[in-house]
């Protein structure tokens, strides 16, 4: 009894002490990092997180953002929305307020979007998130930089059109969409249906229930119906299972095109040579172990013993994705500092302005060491995406190599769709469209 009492008092004391700790110098810019290193999608989440953290460490090694160092803190949420929300709540107000949130999860993105207006924290969703959040007139705090799901779907069709020799040649062809049965996967359907109607091809919709390891029936249907091309919208284990099943049913991998969340080393490494010929879209970047920024990270972070993950991971696809996500956050802070005071810590509101006025041109990209990795990104109030281009890379058995030129998504069709969806959201939530969009250039 006495020992137990002692233990309880000790535990309470330590917990109280631990709670008191954790408040750091207020002169740092705080970046909470929501990660999932455990759970169903652990390998993907870990690689992304390592890239994200390494870039923040690189920024600090280079002196921070105009002298302001970045204070980052991880919070593990295992891809569960309620745990993600708890992480969000826990970290949003610490250390002077979070500068930006980047939840690599659709569920948390949707829930956090609801809170962004009250909490005043911008949410950057580099290549994912609500497709309609590209419309900054309604979604003031969301930034689906680099492209959203509709851009991907559109470019996937354009790629196959190019392969067959023109959009008109798609008539009569059959495309199969294998998608993760969740909001992430279902976002593919509207633009694809739109294109199917316009060009006259048939779209087979094959949902795969979470987590996606059970795809035998989907591939049996593919073997039965023999679609000309397959579009894969998976994540994590679903991609691996899809490729294995494709090999088992004998579907040629070079007729499969994944979206940019289905095209990383983790998806093909297990399958290796069998996946040769499989290609996927790139979120502008592919695998860049030789880019200047990767070399910088190796020399300034890993050589000093500060690396987050294994050294061999630097430059891999998801690593680059995490790294670029962090880059956007940092550039948003930098741009905000240009307006609100260089060398000062920025609030969420100010970082939001910075993200809305990003101008990452060739010169800036070169300074960051990102030439050849991504194209210039310019955001504005009306356009929170900044770019809508992609290219295709293919797996040759050992690595991903970029095999095509740049594709531009058909924004003539997508912009009205985005606007209509955003308007629908605005009416549902009784939000007024922003009027200050026209005033800002």
């Amino acid at each position: 009894m006495k020992a137990r009492k002692l233990m309880i008092t000790a535990l309470t004391a330590v917990t109280a002490w631990c709670g008191a700790l954790g408040s750091a110098a207020a002169a740092d810019q705080y970046f909470p990092v929501l990660v999932y290193r455990t759970g169903a999608y652990a390998p993907n989440g870990s690689q992304w997180a390592n890239g994200y953290l390494d870039y923040l460490k690189l920024t600090n090694a280079q002196g921070g953002v105009n002298g302001v160092k970045i204070l980052f803190e991880e919070c593990e949420f295992a891809y569960a929305t309620d745990r993600g929300l708890e992480c969000y709540e826990r970290l949003k107000a610490k250390n002077g307020g979070a500068a930006v949130m980047q939840p690599l999860s659709t569920g948390v993105t949707f829930a956090a979007t609801e809170k962004a207006e009250t909490d005043k924290i911008p949410i950057v969703t580099f290549g994912y998130g609500r497709s309609e959040s590209a419309d900054g007139g309604v979604f003031k705090w969301n930034f689906p930089l680099g492209g959203n799901y509709w851009v991907q779907a559109d470019i996937q069709v354009q790629h196959w059109a190019k392969v067959v020799g023109g959009l008109d040649k798609l008539k009569g062809k059959k495309l199969a969409l294998i998608y993760h049965d969740s909001p992430y996967g279902k976002e593919a359907i509207p633009p694809l249906m739109e294109r199917a109607k316009r060009h006259g091809f048939e779209l087979m919709q094959l949902p795969v229930p979470h987590p996606g390891i059970d795809q035998r029936s989907v591939w049996l249907q593919i073997r039965q119906q023999k679609p000309d091309y397959v579009l894969l919208w998976g994540w994590g284990i679903m991609n691996i299972a899809a490729l294995k099943e494709a090999i088992a049913t004998g579907y040629p991998r070079n007729r499969m095109l994944g979206n940019w969340w289905s095209g990383s080393e983790l998806d093909v490494a297990e399958v290796g040579a069998g996946a040769k010929g499989y290609s996927s879209l790139t979120l502008q970047h592919g695998a860049h172990p030789d880019a200047k920024v990767s070399k910088d990270i190796l020399s300034q972070v890993y050589d000093k013993g500060n690396g987050t993950g294994p050294r061999g991971e630097v430059g891999s696809v998801l690593y680059m994705r995490g790294m670029l996500s962090a880059m956007f956050g940092v550039e948003g802070v930098r741009r905000a500092q240009e307006r609100f005071g260089k060398g000062k810590v920025m609030t969420g509101e100010q970082v939001r302005w910075g993200l809305e006025n990003l101008n990452l041109d060739d010169a800036r990209l070169q300074a960051l060491g990102l030439t050849g990795v991504i194209r210039p990104i310019v955001t504005s109030c009306a356009d929170h995406m900044g770019a809508s281009v992609s290219r295709v890379h293919s797996w040759d058995g050992k690595k991903w190599t970029i095999t095509t030129d740049w594709y531009q998504a058909d924004m003539q069709t997508l912009k009205p769709m985005i606007r209509a969806a955003a308007d629908r959201y605005a009416t549902e939530k009784s939000i007024q469209r922003r009027t200050d969009c026209q005033q800002q250039g």
Partner: protein, 358 residues
């Protein structure tokens, strides 16, 4: 010494049949309610409301519903997540499709729809029990998962399948801030808790307990099994459905079907088992254990890492947290299989004769 009912004589049946016949119990409950409604809002931070108290209150309401079915009526149900989903989606549809629908009414509509679904999937309980019934309710879980993904009507034909709700308000009171959300859900919990407590003390509650203990014998003495079992499913699903509506509307704000997956069903079942089958307080204890303990462990382990100077990766913290949590559950069930509520009642018993040991 303090907790004696000496001298507290009842002179009317009404006084004798109150929920809390002992004065000290009544005082404790009044204090607890005062703490919950007044004290906590004054002391707790926004983070505590949003991340700890809100899920705790909503999930204890859901656990209460599940406890009625599993604890009081003995029908194992692994479909509670589905019933929460039905409650949430039907409440959403009522709220969005009907102009000017009050929030509370929409939630009750959600609960009523969950009742209908619960009764439908409770029909196998008239034929089978135990593990077999668990599988039948699993069918409910997965079927509802699929329906909300596939049938566009439920999500108001949104392209991505996620739904969200706008500003919540009751009469003229906007439920915006974390404190208001907490009070809103707490009000539901108190009302439903009172309702549940009275139900289980009444004849229907005794029918449920008779079915749980020995259903054949109960049928022999004249309790209609169909009525008792289906009413348990109905009441339980209603409460779970309202909890689901609260979870979606108040806590998440914007949700997808995965928020009510099989993991949620298991979580509710664990709450009920750990908290104590067949006890209203048990649902609260179980919810506190399952919701609050992982967060406390998380803070404690990260704090430990910070204190000791070791760089503990968040993955390791998450793994250790799962292991400790699992070990605690196992240890706990070995030490006290009847759950936390049994510890509570044992504590009260000891308090009655305190300071004497027996």
């Amino acid at each position: 010494m303090i907790y004696r009912e000496n001298g507290q004589f009842k002179t009317s049946y009404r006084a004798d049949q109150q929920i809390f016949p002992i004065l000290q119990d009544r005082a404790f409950i009044v204090l607890l309610l005062a703490m919950a409604f007044v004290g906590v809002p004054m002391m707790a931070s926004d983070y505590l409301f949003q991340a700890v108290l809100l899920p705790f209150v909503i999930l204890s309401l859901a656990a209460l519903g599940v406890n009625i079915l599993v604890g009081y009526c003995g029908q194992i149900s692994l479909g509670s997540g589905a019933f929460m989903a039905v409650g949430a989606y039907m409440a959403y549809n009522a709220y969005v499709r009907i102009e000017g629908m009050p929030l509370v009414a929409a939630m009750l509509v959600g609960g009523a729809s969950a009742t209908l679904v619960g009764i439908a999937f409770g029909i196998p309980s008239l034929r089978v029990k135990g593990l077999y019934l668990a599988v039948a309710t699993l069918a409910a879980q997965f079927f509802c998962d699929w329906v909300f993904l596939r049938v566009g009507w439920f999500t108001n034909h949104s392209s991505s399948g996620t739904v969200s709700v706008a500003h919540l308000q009751v009469l003229n009171w906007r439920v915006d801030t974390p404190v208001e959300k907490y009070l809103f859900c707490l009000a539901f919990l108190v009302v439903f808790g009172l309702m549940a407590k009275n139900l289980v003390r009444s004849s229907i509650g005794r029918e449920w307990m008779a079915i749980r203990d020995m259903d054949v014998a109960a049928a022999v003495i004249g309790i209609r099994p169909m009525y008792a079992k289906l009413s348990a499913f109905a009441v339980s699903s209603f409460i779970v459905g309202v909890a689901g509506a609260l979870w979606g509307f108040v806590y998440l704000g914007s949700w997808e079907p995965a928020a009510f997956s099989i993991d949620r069903s298991f979580q509710l079942l664990f709450m009920v088992i750990i908290g104590g089958l067949g006890s209203v307080m048990g649902s609260l204890f179980g919810a506190a254990f399952i919701v609050v303990l992982p967060i406390v462990l998380d803070h404690f382990l990260s704090g430990l890492g910070a204190v000791s100077g070791l760089h503990i990766s968040t993955a390791l913290v998450a793994h250790v947290q799962s292991m400790v949590f699992g070990a605690l559950i196992v240890w706990f069930l070995i030490v006290e299989p009847h759950g936390l509520a049994k510890l509570w009642s044992v504590g009260k018993q000891k308090l009655r004769i305190w300071p004497f040991p027996h």
